[in-house]
């Protein structure tokens, strides 16, 4: 326990100001080489009317050491994978290898311009091609586009591919009648949003009490003849494998639709089962989950779209192909949905993902999957005595619990999550999926050992105990952080989204 300090208010780390508040006129943190061409008056180069006249007032003026201290201090306010278990369900917070970071920084890749003529970028294209091959083998789906920048972007791509395919198959007119995308109620929010972006309207499929897709409801919805496809996550967002997947695909296919699989949960399947073998037509992967490219505080990601041979002509262009030992860009896909991003996508992530696949090897990939599932199972087993587990099926790589028992004492999922922070853990995903009241979705990944799993289980049990004996303690958590719970409602009511100088702020 901390003794009663009265004066500790100026501890530097907890109080690092905004950089704008630290700025002092005239300080600089950079140096450029002297200009080596004769300097012309700037207005002779750019007409005055196009020149900036605000002198960039407000931009910070700080020294290099100011910047270093600013960000080093701020960094200490973050929790990160490198500090411990980060069991955020659906996010696959696994260890990000330092080696992969080094690979991405090799100057021959890092300094390569995306518009370099292909003859001078063969190594870079080889990486794309190899990664395509590896992902095709892993998913069992031969058509791969690495252009999408994240999972949601991959979804949009995949759904557009479905739409273009149906347009081509049925003709515009018939296709215009197929504008429904089926999405389970447990799906991630990006699924309906992506479907909407592609011009589909969404119909929601119920989940069964077991936590699986309701086949009856699916059949019912498919009967209308307006179904373009189904977007299904597998294992689903409850961490359960949709064991009727083959039948599901059959039903959708029979109704003239296609099956999109959200591959965000591939960490449960790599090396064990392949979407392509299940009847799925198109999926996206999150390289920033399953393939360990760093989350970076919220990106960048990379969301490859992988599809069957049939759908391949519809993937974005350009595609990277190999012709006579040479890697080329092929733009000649007249049925393509078009480009979804400038250049080739988030290339740096591809380097890292390929490095991940190659350092693991086929056996290492399978073992990672096994460990991820084993760890989730171990947690499921360890917590079932203290928390409500709404579904009986053995979980795959993640497991969902609820606050049902704790809420009787007024302690809710949010409180449990916040209290976990005091125990040194990042909380699990909370209130997702939406269909489970008070959901706590726990995904340990393969990157934790038994010691840490035990610590986590112990912490969760201890919180369950606290919820009974001392609920106030849980309700007021976290106690050990730089700031307490923030008033998010007030923040949204009168949003302050940028810093402004003091006077200006009061003036406006």
């Amino acid at each position: 326990m901390k003794s009663n300090i009265t004066k500790v208010t100026s501890h530097i780390n907890p109080n690092e100001a905004l950089i704008f508040e630290r700025s002092q006129t005239g300080r600089v943190g950079y140096r450029l080489p002297a200009l080596d061409v004769d300097e012309e008056p700037i207005a002779t180069i750019v007409p005055q009317q196009y020149l900036r006249d605000d002198d960039l007032v407000g931009l910070p003026e700080v020294s290099e050491v100011d910047v270093i201290r600013h960000f080093v201090r701020m960094s200490t306010w973050n929790y990160s994978i490198d500090q411990g278990m980060y069991p955020l369900g659906s996010c696959t917070m696994k260890y990000n290898s330092r080696l992969n970071e080094k690979v991405a920084r090799i100057p021959g890749f890092a300094n390569l311009h995306p518009l370099t003529e292909v003859e001078n970028a063969q190594g870079a294209l080889a990486v794309i091609y190899q990664l395509q091959q590896e992902l095709a083998e892993i998913t069992g789906l031969p058509g791969i586009s690495l252009q999408p920048a994240a999972g949601a972007h991959g979804e949009m791509t995949g759904v557009m591919v479905i739409r273009s395919f149906i347009d081509a198959r049925d003709g515009e007119e018939a296709s215009a009648k197929r504008r429904t995308m089926l999405i389970p109620d447990s799906a991630h929010g990006t699924n309906p949003a992506s479907a909407h972006l592609s011009g589909f309207s969404v119909k929601t499929i119920r989940s069964t009490a077991e936590g699986l897709t309701d086949l009856e409801h699916l059949r019912e919805l498919c009967a209308g003849g307006d179904v373009a496809g189904l977007m299904l996550t597998n294992p689903n967002t409850l961490g359960l494998f949709e064991r009727n997947i083959k039948e599901i695909c059959q039903i959708v296919h029979d109704a003239g639709g296609l099956v999109y699989m959200d591959g965000a949960n591939m960490n449960a399947l790599v090396g064990i089962a392949r979407p392509g073998d299940m009847g799925v037509d198109v999926i996206h992967l999150n390289l920033h989950k399953t393939f360990s490219t760093p989350h970076g505080g919220g990106g960048p990601g990379c969301g490859p779209c992988c599809c069957s041979k049939e759908l391949e002509p519809f993937l974005p262009v350009p595609r990277v192909v190999q012709i006579d030992e040479q890697f080329k860009l092929d733009f000649n896909y007249p049925q393509s949905i078009g480009r979804v991003k400038a250049f080739f996508g988030n290339y740096g992530m591809m380097l890292r993902a390929l490095a991940y696949i190659q350092t693991h090897g086929y056996d290492g990939l399978r073992e990672a999957t096994e460990a991820a599932v084993l760890n989730a199972r171990y947690i499921a087993n360890g917590l079932v005595s203290d928390y409500e587990k709404p579904f009986n099926d053995p979980p795959m790589h993640e497991v969902v619990f609820t606050d049902k028992r704790q809420s009787r004492k007024g302690v809710h999922t949010l409180d449990i999550a916040k209290r976990l922070i005091d125990y040194g853990f990042h909380p699990m995903t909370i209130y997702f999926p939406l269909i489970v009241q008070g959901a706590m979705l726990i995904e340990p990944t393969e990157s934790v050992g038994r010691q840490e799993l035990d610590q986590f289980i112990e912490a969760m049990r201890s919180i369950a105990q606290e919820a009974i004996e001392n609920p106030e303690l849980v309700l007021s958590a976290p106690h050990d952080t730089r700031i307490g719970r923030l008033d998010e409602a007030a923040a949204a009511r009168k949003p302050v989204l940028r810093w402004k100088p003091k006077q200006a702020a009061t003036a406006s």
Binding site: N78, Y79, P300, L365
Partner: protein, 436 residues
């Protein structure tokens, strides 16, 4: 552990997967490599990327700028690069405060009132701006004006194809390289004018004039910027009257990395804040009155609004936004200006020298920042190939790449990274390779 769970083997973990769906063999992916082997393999591949080793005048949407050493050091801190989206503000203040600073910097540079926490890149940011203009105005025609990066146009085209938006094009004035300006298509069905400045041919557009025209019919003006360093010198789009400003932030401390990851900047007027795609960070206070930052206005977003969200974006470009933030704070007020001036001065020098070469011309008269089109006496593709293989210089981008009707044109970009000696070598190369 298996034992403790009553399982005989790892395979038993997967009983919920029907047997016939389980892979009965190992994957046929690469066998496991050691660090030594892996690095050797990637090094070998990297060596064949000759483009990365040459003096380069390539721009066209991705720029070679100096990145202060501290940028990579700081983004490599575990606490930043191995954290996730800051959903738990109490243990994510580092990321949140950095994003708040990022949003502020983007506002300051673009002259706008609000900015989001980043988009995938400049091209998708532009596509999202077009979608947003439709939401805001409830109109469906969008006019792409003049020389917009062709790949950006492609991306917009993909994004709008199912959104009921009609995308039309206003041509380039062949003399000036700027928007032709007649704007006959502009009417009260128009949601937005889209303009890039400096444009794809390097010419600075008269953004203020376009804003006036757009506003006259109740349309928005969307300004797209591919070379964000230009903001250090050129009047901000906000000051010119833009309604939405998007930019590719790669120039702010992000390596070329064969096209990504980069970072899209997205800024607009305060009144449209609730129409913005993507994440927003705002100020908030705890019970004891301590200032912190949180993700806010989340009701716009897919995880709450689902199909009615302002965008489907979830993961954005957090770490790259952080890199830009560090870059901008390190360069600061005077550094950003100085880099921009060096670009403009060196470009002016290069243009002057190239114009002097026999049979070479600079077709567009519009004012430029750090890029310009050069017209040579021979096919640009061949000329540049020779310049590369014989002189070790990447002389620019052959415009035939995008415009088959411009066989002899190429786009040259000059930044603070090109020394006068580099420019002189380029000129000497062009001279000697086109001697009769």
């Amino acid at each position: 552990m298996l034992e403790q769970l009553g399982l005989a083997s790892a395979a038993d973990l997967f009983v919920s997967i029907p047997k016939d769906l389980r892979l009965a063999r190992e994957l046929q992916t690469s066998p496991a490599l050691s660090e030594i082997e892996l690095l050797a393999g990637f090094d070998r591949l990297a060596e064949t990327n000759f483009g990365a080793q040459r003096i380069s005048f390539l721009g066209a949407g991705a720029y070679q700028h100096y990145v202060p050493t501290i940028v990579d050091h700081l983004i490599s801190r575990s606490e930043f690069f191995t954290a996730y989206t800051p959903y738990q503000p109490e243990i994510s203040q580092g990321t949140l405060q950095a994003i708040f600073e990022f949003q502020t910097l983007v506002c300051q540079l673009t002259g706008m009132e609000v900015a989001n926490a980043s988009m995938y890149d400049g091209s998708t940011a532009l596509a999202e701006a077009v979608l947003m203009a439709e939401r805001v105005t409830k109109r469906s025609k969008v006019i792409a004006c003049g020389a917009i990066h062709p790949e950006y146009v492609d991306v917009i085209t993909t994004y709008v194809q199912h959104a009921g938006i009609e995308l039309v094009h206003e041509p380039v004035n062949p003399e000036t390289g700027q928007v032709a300006g007649a704007l006959e298509l502009l009417d009260d069905k128009t949601a937005a004018l889209v303009v890039q400045s400096p444009n794809f041919f390097g010419c600075i557009e008269d953004v203020a004039a376009l804003a006036e025209k757009a506003h006259a019919v109740g349309a928005l003006l969307i300004v797209s910027i591919t070379e964000a360093i230009s903001l250090g010198l050129l009047r901000s789009p906000g000051a010119c009257g833009a309604d939405i400003v998007v930019a590719e932030g790669q120039s702010f401390g992000v390596p070329l990395s064969f096209g990504g990851p980069y970072v899209g900047l997205f800024a607009t007027r305060e009144k449209y804040a609730r129409q913005i795609p993507g994440r927003l960070v705002g100020e908030a206070y705890d019970k004891e009155g301590r200032r912190g930052f949180v993700l806010t206005l989340a009701t716009r977003e897919q995880h709450i609004r689902r199909e009615k969200a302002t965008s489907n974006i979830c993961t954005n470009e957090g770490l790259i936004a952080l890199a830009s933030t560090i870059y901008l704070e390190t360069m600061g007020r005077s550094g950003l200006r100085e880099v921009a001036e060096h670009c403009a001065q060196k470009t002016a020098y290069a243009a002057k020298e190239i114009r002097r070469i026999k049979r070479f011309s600079i077709p567009f008269t519009g004012a430029r920042f750090n890029e310009f089109v050069v017209r040579g006496p021979v096919a640009a593709m061949d000329l540049l190939a020779k310049l590369g293989s014989e002189r070790g210089i990447t002389g620019g981008l052959a415009l035939s790449h995008y415009f088959p009707d411009r066989p002899n044109d190429f786009l040259v970009c000059v930044t603070e990274m090109n020394s006068r000696a580099d420019i002189d070598a380029l000129v000497a190369g062009l001279v000697s390779l086109t001697k009769a």
